[in-house]
Symmetry: D2
Subunit: 274 residues, 4 copies
């Protein structure tokens, strides 16, 4: 028998900006919101019965409407409010997932801002009657070090051409996401601290491989922040390849590199507590 | 205790093109390959011990080297060969995942080609000692119908502004992926047939919702192709919004639309056998 | 003295789709429109005087409103109508430039369509009291040939490492734009013919260099179509680099290539009449 | 008679990174280089004669090779050196244009860096026997102000729906480019100063329109820096549209906005000396 398996629907890429007015300055916030609902939607698929479908257009309107009163502090608090709203007001909805990515802006005067770059602060809240899971993180954290990174003693096989090196550029577009245990008093302060720990560990680590640095970064977060249950790091290796100057009778002592986007090494790991 | 959880590493975005020479014409193939390995890599993370690490650079070289003899038919066959190679030659590797996306080219003369568009044929092969899972599919299948699509009788709540309609544009950038059971004689013929079934069902369906059309497409594939175990469809709803011409004293009888990219409805569903 | 030099303003990226209903099928058209106005806007810049400024929001509305009656045939005819509208109704506007890019859709049933790929048909109409210039073309025409292309006898200098070859892949994402002289009866028929000539010349040419093929393509268009005054071709060379299989004891007789996006050769040329 | 008109060729998107080692820290530089040559290339086009063609592959090698000794200070100095090299060593080359865009990195320790965002510092050097033109600038300078911006007293016509406002968000992805007169002692210091002037003027200006702010920014640069001959600013208006909360019985006093990418107003202007 052919039947419906796992399914969900929602609205993605709801672009919202908000001005929060403080006495002496404006706070400018810009977020992208994804909403996804799971529940009793079988007849919508099999019969075209829409009577249990809250349109994605309405979901979008809801994001804007609730932002006025409820997007005042962290993206985690707003995502949780949205997820609860959909589950509490729609009885056919069993689970609501709300993802928010916040764009960084640096304030340069009380009312003017410059982009904080591609880096985004993220959260994903999964809410149902039984459990609430809050996973927060960073995407597009583009970081690089010009030394204190090597890669040696690896396997050689018939297709090996890579040379061992004790000194190379280590560049990555890091994505980190960590799961919180229990309620957190101030998500934004904690985010800032975790981000600082990730950066300091990356910068200070004497790296023997991407894997080793990845683990060190995750370990540092778990050691420092008891509220973090586990952390996953994705670290594409954005290779900077030494250009062969010797062919022109010149030396290249880690000076001139070809910066490449593709192909890229892709290292993923989770650090957990046990 | 803090320790390593799930982890993997590999090379992504290996861009490979190949000319296969036939007596009267050339076959031009262009693929992007991702390799990902799981296995005994704990000391690489915790100690910086690289003696069990096959570099991602070597993985890349292997893709090019094996393509000469082994990329001669379907992407499924080549992905399987690559995955087996890594597991069989590297005893620390438990599972190899190889993903291949193939770019479409239309031949216009024996040796000249024009792009077949953004659509890509895809496969993912997961191989380990116990099981082989082959999931094939399509991404970026951009399809649209100008009628035979409506959306009515949905839930209204305080945030509803969407109007019911029995005639709207239905446009989607469909991603389909299906899992095969058992060995397949000719993956390429089967792919062409499944793609044709998906297109015909989309075009012919009298759609009451994206969900209903999604289910009909999946059901048609499972009904027609016993070799398909289950299929997942992701159908972002690329909204074409009626422009309000009435405000200028004109009528707009489903003629002029604003084509939007964001936000978009996102409908995902799996159709299974039971 | 500091003063205002050349300036313009307008609305870009107006995304419009239209259904044109024929007795037995629907015609689906999708375009992106850019409007740019030049004229007497000095006090807007120097004094903040907006009394001569037609807002870009109004320009956008105008595109949608005029599409109902006037976007019924070619993009050239609609662009010309829009450009005339802005110059004729706004006396402070001296010159209006309207650019339209049309997305290709292939009809598969009377009311269903599949994407025609990244290729776009384009036009730019520059209109003022004195002259009308219509430049039409194609962008993102992704074409490739697997043989009949070489590159030899070029200059060698101390930084040369490229090897001569009489047989290579020639791939390009061609952009062509041609200026029409006088009025054209049917822009769409002419576009189809010019596109066919470009493709046939590319496919049939025994290429000694990108430059030579570029010139041959332009020459063929000027020879065949008296209505074309001149044509400019931009042909980035999307290199497919032979992978070095010899280092693994294998031969590579133009079989396996690295497909690269960057860096790319960039060849631009105009072919004119004199 | 059909003949070759204007033409050029070169290598684009040469991705280069360099470590410059100072006693107490590393300086990390990352640039993208485009080279374009004009000269006596007619027979290359008409006859396939490559004897006057310096391959774009060699141009690329030259960029890497010359970077070792000559990319030590500003991108302007390196671009000029490259342009001179091609004209002086290749007698068939009349004019060389070298464009460099530099990616911003912020140093966080002596050897570790974090991305400085999408903003890029740019230069274009056009060099031939007669003249040298150096145009420098910024791209992707993403700036925003939450107040001190309005748009009123504009033209109303039958297609007007925009409401006048004395308080709106003003956001733009500014591109600025200025032409230098004569030789400059330190391009990098001057760049930093001009950038600071642009930011301060944007932040401090009481804007009646994008045009007025654009002119004020250009005027401030010309007034402050005699070495700048003229400046062109491109300021797409990244609209933040007030979301209609009134339809849900709520007020929206410039609080909640829809952030849009398309369509966008596009304002371009040059400020000159006379």
């Amino acid at each position: 028998m052919i039947k419906l398996g796992e399914n969900s629907y929602g609205k993605n890429a709801v672009q919202l900006s908000k001005i929060i007015r403080h006495p002496d300055h404006h706070e400018f916030r810009q977020i992208t919101v994804n909403v996804s609902l799971k529940g009793d939607f079988e007849t919508a698929h099999t019969l075209g019965d829409n009577t249990k479908i809250l349109p994605t257009d309405t979901q979008k309107n809801t994001v804007y409407a609730l932002a006025k009163e409820h997007f005042t502090t962290s993206i985690e608090a707003f995502a949780l409010h949205l997820a609860e709203h959909f589950v509490h007001t729609q009885q056919q909805v069993a689970t609501a997932t709300v993802e928010i990515a916040e764009t960084a802006w640096s304030r340069i005067t009380p009312h003017a801002y410059i982009s904080g770059g591609a880096e985004k602060r993220t959260t994903q809240v999964i809410y149902n009657a039984a459990t609430t899971t809050i996973t927060s993180g960073i995407t597009d954290l583009l970081i690089l070090k010009t030394t204190d990174s090597g890669f040696e003693h690896f396997i050689k096989d018939p297709y090996t051409t890579l040379k061992e090196t004790s000194d190379r550029i280590f560049a990555t577009q890091c994505e980190a996401s960590w799961i919180y245990k229990g309620a957190i008093k101030d998500y934004s302060v904690l985010f800032d601290n975790i981000r600082a720990t990730l950066l300091a560990t990356f910068a200070g680590h004497n790296s023997l491989s991407v894997q080793q640095t990845l683990f060190a970064m995750g370990e540092a977060v778990l050691e420092t922040y008891p509220a973090v249950k586990e952390i996953t790091l994705k670290m594409p290796n954005k290779h900077h390849v030494l250009f062969n100057l010797e062919q022109f009778g010149m030396s290249n002592q880690n000076e001139v590199f070809i910066a490449t986007d593709e192909p890229y090494g892709y290292i993923v790991g989770t650090v957990i507590r046990e």
